[in-house]
C-alpha cells in the first residue's frame, strides 16, 4: 500500500533532515515528506544548493548518484507541476536512500540546473532526460540526444507522444561531437586522428559506437555514442498491464533475465503489500543466483575472447548450457524465462528441482576451476589486465558505479548485504571486494562472486521446503488455479479481471532495488490506480559504467580500451532499455 504519512508524523530520519535543513540557507525552501523513503521536493532554482548540501553535510553525505527519472504528470491530476525530475541518491556512510523531486513549473520549457559538478554520474542521466522528456539542464557541457537518433522529433516519454511514432533516419543525420570534426588539432609531434569504432564491431559487445581521438597509439579523447539498442522499454511498460511488463523486463539484462523479473515484481508486490510464500521466494533466490553465475560466465568469457583467449569461452559457456537446462525445466524457456509473476511464480518447479540444482553445484566449480587454472596466473592475461582500466575509489563513487565495478575499487557495497531482502540475511556468505580497481580486480571479483553465489544456493537448498505453495493466495493479484477457474464462478471472475484489466495497484510510487548481475538494479514505479504502470523507470546498473568508459580509457591504448570495455559488462538491452 502507498503510505502517505502526514508531515507531523515524519520518521526520525526525515525529522533530522528537516531540522538540519531549517538551520541551513535552504530553510523553508525544501519540503520534506515520507513515502517509501524520505522525499524532498524542491524548486529548480534551489536544486543545485540542495545537491551540494546533501553531498557535503556531515550528517548525510549522499555520495552515490543513483538515478534520474523524468515524470510527466499530464494524465495524473493532483500534482502541482506537469514535469518532475526525480533523483535517487544513496549515502554509503549512512546506508540509506533518498528521493528528491525537482518540480519544474514551466510546462513549455522545463529548465533545471545540471548537477554534473556535484556528482559526475549525472552526465548521461541528464542527457537521457533531455532526450526523452525535453528537460533542459543549464550548465551541462554536452546536452545532446543520447538514446533516440538525431533525426528524432519530439520527446518520446512525454504523455502526449504516440508510442508508435517513428522518424526516418539516414546515415547523414548522425551527429558527431564537435571536437571530432576538428582534424586540425595537434598534440606533440604527431597529428592526431579521429577513429570511429563501431557501432558494429566485434569488440563493442552489442552495439556501442566509440569515437576516439588518437595520438599515435594513445587515446587522448573519446566519446561513446549509444542508442543503437534503445527499444523503448519504458514507453512499452506504460502501454501494458503490470503482469504484461514481465516479458519486457527479461529483455533488459538478457544475460541474467531472471534477476530483472525478480526486481520488477518485488517493486509491484511492495506497492500492493503482499507477501510471497517462503518456497516461492527461495526459488527466486536460487534461480537469481544461478543467473548471476551465468552473467559472470558470459562477461568473463567474452572479455577473454576479445583478448584472443577463446578456450575459456567454451568452458564457461558449457556452464551456461547446464544452467539453461534447469531454467528450461522450470519455465519452458532457456534465456528469456518470464518465470516470475506478481505474487509468486508462473508455475511450480519440477519435482527434481533440488536434485538438478545439486548436480549443478557439483559441476560448476570444476568449470570455474579450469578457467582459473588457465587465466588467473597466465602471464599474458596479467600483463594485459593488471594496471589497465583503473578506476579509483573516489572516481567509482563519483561516477555512480555499483556492483562488481564498485566492489573491485574497494567499496563493499552489495545490496544483498547492505539492505538484505528475501532471505539473504540468513545465509553465510562474503562480499567479494578487490582494492585495485583495474581490469584484473574486476575479473577476480567476478570469479569470487560465482563461488559466493554457489555458497548461497547451497544454503538456500538446505532450508528449501519440499512442498507448499509458491504463490500468494491473494486472488486479486495471482491467477487462481486452473482447476478452480473451471469449476468455480468466483475464481473465473478473478481470472477474467486479472487478464482483461490487469492488477489494480493502488495509487502511489515506489523505488525498490536489488543486487543485479551488474550492480544495483532498481525500479521506480508510479501507479495511478489503473491496471498498468503510469511510469516505470529502470535504474540500469551498467548505464553509469558505460557513461564513465570514455573517461577511464583516456590516455590508454586501443587494445587496453577493448579489454576495459569487456570488463565493464555492458549489456545493450539494459544499457539503453
Amino acid at each position: 500500500m502507498s503510505t502517505v504519512v502526514e508531515p507531523s508524523t515524519l520518521s526520525a530520519k526525515s525529522e533530522t533532515l528537516r531540522g538540519r535543513l531549517a538551520q541551513s540557507p535552504l530553510a523553508g525552501l525544501v519540503e520534506v515528506s515520507d513515502l517509501d523513503m524520505t522525499v524532498l521536493e524542491v524548486a529548480p532554482e534551489n536544486w543545485f544548493a540542495l545537491a551540494l548540501f546533501l553531498r557535503d553535510d556531515r550528517g548525510f553525505l549522499y555520495d552515490l548518484y543513483l538515478d534520474l527519472a523524468g515524470v510527466d504528470n499530464l494524465r495524473r491530476p493532483g500534482r502541482r507541476t506537469r514535469f518532475e525530475a526525480v533523483v535517487h541518491l544513496h549515502s554509503l556512510t549512512n546506508n540509506e536512500h533518498i528521493r528528491i523531486k525537482v518540480l519544474l513549473p514551466d510546462p513549455e520549457k522545463p529548465v533545471l540546473p545540471s548537477v554534473i559538478e556535484v556528482w559526475p554520474a549525472a552526465n548521461w542521466f541528464e542527457r537521457e532526460a533531455f532526450d526523452l522528456f525535453g528537460f533542459e539542464f543549464t550548465g551541462h557541457p554536452n546536452l545532446r540526444r543520447l538514446l533516440c537518433h538525431d533525426a528524432f522529433v519530439g520527446h518520446a516519454l512525454r504523455k502526449d507522444y504516440a508510442p508508435g511514432q517513428r522518424w526516418f533516419f539516414t546515415e547523414g543525420d548522425l551527429r558527431w561531437p564537435d571536437w571530432a570534426k576538428n582534424t586540425e588539432e595537434r598534440a606533440g609531434h604527431f597529428e592526431t586522428q579521429t577513429l570511429s569504432i563501431g557501432p558494429s564491431h566485434p569488440a563493442t559487445h552489442g552495439i556501442v559506437h566509440l569515437i576516439a581521438r588518437m595520438d599515435g597509439e594513445r587515446i587522448v579523447r573519446a566519446e561513446t555514442q549509444i542508442g543503437y539498442m534503445h527499444r523503448c522499454f519504458e514507453k512499452m511498460a506504460e502501454t501494458h498491464t503490470w503482469n504484461q511488463v514481465i516479458p519486457y523486463t527479461d529483455r533488459l539484462n538478457y544475460v541474467s533475465a531472471m534477476i530483472n523479473g525478480v526486481g520488477y515484481v518485488r517493486t509491484v508486490e511492495k506497492m500492493l503489500g503482499i507477501e510471497v510464500p517462503k518456497r516461492g521466494v527461495l526459488i527466486r533466490t536460487i534461480l537469481s543466483e544461478f543467473s548471476r553465475i551465468m552473467d559472470h560466465c558470459v562477461n568473463i568469457g567474452a572479455n577473454l575472447v576479445d583478448m584472443g583467449a577463446l578456450t575459456n569461452f567454451w568452458y564457461l559457456f558449457q556452464n551456461r548450457e547446464n544452467i539453461y537446462s534447469l531454467l528450461e525445466a522450470c519455465s519452458g524457456a532457456r534465456l528469456t524465462v518470464s518465470y516470475v509473476r506478481v505474487g509468486g511464480l508462473a508455475i511450480d518447479v519440477p519435482d527434481d528441482f533440488v536434485a538438478r540444482c545439486r548436480s549443478l553445484l557439483e559441476s560448476i566449480p570444476t568449470f570455474v576451476a579450469d578457467v582459473e587454472k588457465l587465466v588467473t596466473n597466465n602471464r599474458i592475461i596479467r600483463n594485459r589486465f593488471q594496471g589497465t582500466g583503473v578506476v579509483t575509489k573516489e572516481q567509482a563513487i563519483g561516477w555512480g558505479l555499483t556492483g562488481p565495478m564498485l566492489r573491485s575499487s574497494g567499496v563493499p557495497y552489495d545490496v544483498r548485504r547492505t539492505r538484505p531482502y528475501d532471505f539473504y540475511d540468513q545465509f553465510d556468505w562474503d562480499v567479494a571486494i578487490a582494492p585495485d580497481g583495474d581490469n584484473f580486480s574486476r575479473y577476480l571479483v567476478r570469479i569470487e562472486e560465482m563461488r559466493q553465489s554457489l555458497k548461497i544456493i547451497r544454503q538456500a537448498l538446505d532450508i528449501f521446503p519440499s512442498s507448499g505453495p509458491v504463490n500468494s493466495d491473494d486472488w486479486h493479484v495471482v491467477l487462481p488455479p486452473k482447476d478452480a477457474v473451471y469449476h468455480d464462478m468466483e475464481s473465473l471472475i478473478y481470472h477474467f479481471k486479472i487478464i482483461m484489466e490487469g492488477i489494480r495497484v493502488p495509487k502511489g510510487e515506489r523505488y525498490e532495488w536489488i543486487e543485479g548481475g551488474n550492480g544495483e538494479l532498481g525500479f521506480y514505479a508510479i501507479a495511478d490506480g489503473s491496471g498498468g504502470p503510469y511510469r516505470l523507470k529502470h535504474r540500469a546498473p551498467c548505464f553509469p559504467a558505460m557513461a564513465c568508459f570514455e573517461r577511464i580509457i583516456e590516455g590508454s591504448s586501443i587494445s587496453d580500451a577493448v579489454a576495459t570495455l569487456g570488463s565493464l559488462n555492458i549489456i545493450a538491452g539494459e544499457l539503453e532499455r
Binding site: 519530439g154 518520446a156 504516440a162 508508435g164 511514432q165 517513428r166 534503445h230 527499444r231
Partner: protein, 202 residues
C-alpha cells in the same frame, strides 16, 4: 546428384587396372549451389538477446561447424551469410544497410528472432518493424529468442534454398537504400500526418 554410373560399354581392350568409370552428370549451377550451401561464412550481426543464443549455437554444445557454417567472420567483406540476431532500431538501420551493401555477392540473410523479423513486441517509436524494411531477407526464424535447434533449422532451409537457386524477391528494402521514407512501416500514424508531439528538438 553424384553417383557411380552403370558400367559403360567397353570398346577395344580395357586398361588392365581400371574398374568402372566414375562420373557425374549435373548442371554447373547445381554444383556451385552445393558448394556454396555447405561452406557458408556467417557474419553475426548480434545486437541483443538473440546474439546470446547465437553464441550457444556456435559454442561447443550445439557446434554449428558440423554443418559447414562455422567460419564466423566479423568483416562483411569476408562473409556471405548475414545473420541478424536481435532487435534492430532505427538508429542502427543505416549501419545494417551499409554492412549488407559491403558484403560481396552472392549473399544471403537470415533474420533471427521476431524482433528482427517484425519488430516483435516492440511496436515502438524507435524500433524498426522488421529488417525487411532495410535489407532483403531469405529466411525468417521465429522465436524470442529462437532455440538453437530453430536457428539450425533456419540454416538448413537456407542451404536448401541456395541449392535450389532461390533468392529473396523482396524489393521494399531497395527503396530504403534510395532514401524513400515510405519504405518504412509507419507506427500508429504516418509521419506526414502526425502532429508534432511536444517541442521539436533544438
Amino acid at each position: 546428384m553424384f553417383g557411380r554410373g552403370k558400367q559403360l560399354p567397353v570398346h577395344g581392350a580395357a586398361p588392365a587396372d581400371s574398374g568402372p568409370a566414375d562420373f557425374l552428370t549435373t548442371k554447373l549451377e547445381t554444383m556451385v549451389g552445393w558448394a556454396r550451401s555447405n561452406s557458408l561464412w556467417p557474419l553475426p550481426f548480434a545486437t541483443a538477446c538473440c546474439g546470446i543464443e547465437f553464441m550457444s549455437v556456435v559454442s561447443s554444445h550445439y557446434d554449428l561447424s558440423r554443418f559447414g557454417a562455422e567460419v564466423v567472420r566479423f568483416s562483411p567483406r569476408q562473409a556471405d551469410l548475414l545473420i541478424v540476431a536481435g532487435t534492430v532500431v532505427d538508429k542502427l538501420a543505416p549501419t545494417l544497410r551499409k554492412i549488407y551493401d559491403q558484403m560481396p555477392e552472392p549473399k544471403w540473410v537470415i533474420s533471427m528472432g521476431v524482433c528482427a523479423s517484425s519488430g516483435g513486441f516492440y511496436r515502438a517509436y524507435h524500433v524498426t518493424q522488421g529488417i525487411d524494411e532495410i535489407i532483403p531477407v531469405d529466411v525468417y526464424v521465429p522465436g524470442c529468442p529462437p532455440t538453437p535447434e530453430e536457428l539450425m533449422y533456419g540454416i538448413f532451409e537456407l542451404q536448401r534454398k541456395i541449392q535450389a537457386g532461390e533468392k529473396s524477391r523482396d524489393t521494399r528494402s531497395a527503396r530504403f537504400a534510395e532514401g524513400d521514407k515510405h519504405a518504412w512501416t509507419p507506427g500508429e500514424r504516418a509521419p506526414e500526418e502526425a502532429a508534432v508531439p511536444g517541442k521539436p528538438a533544438a
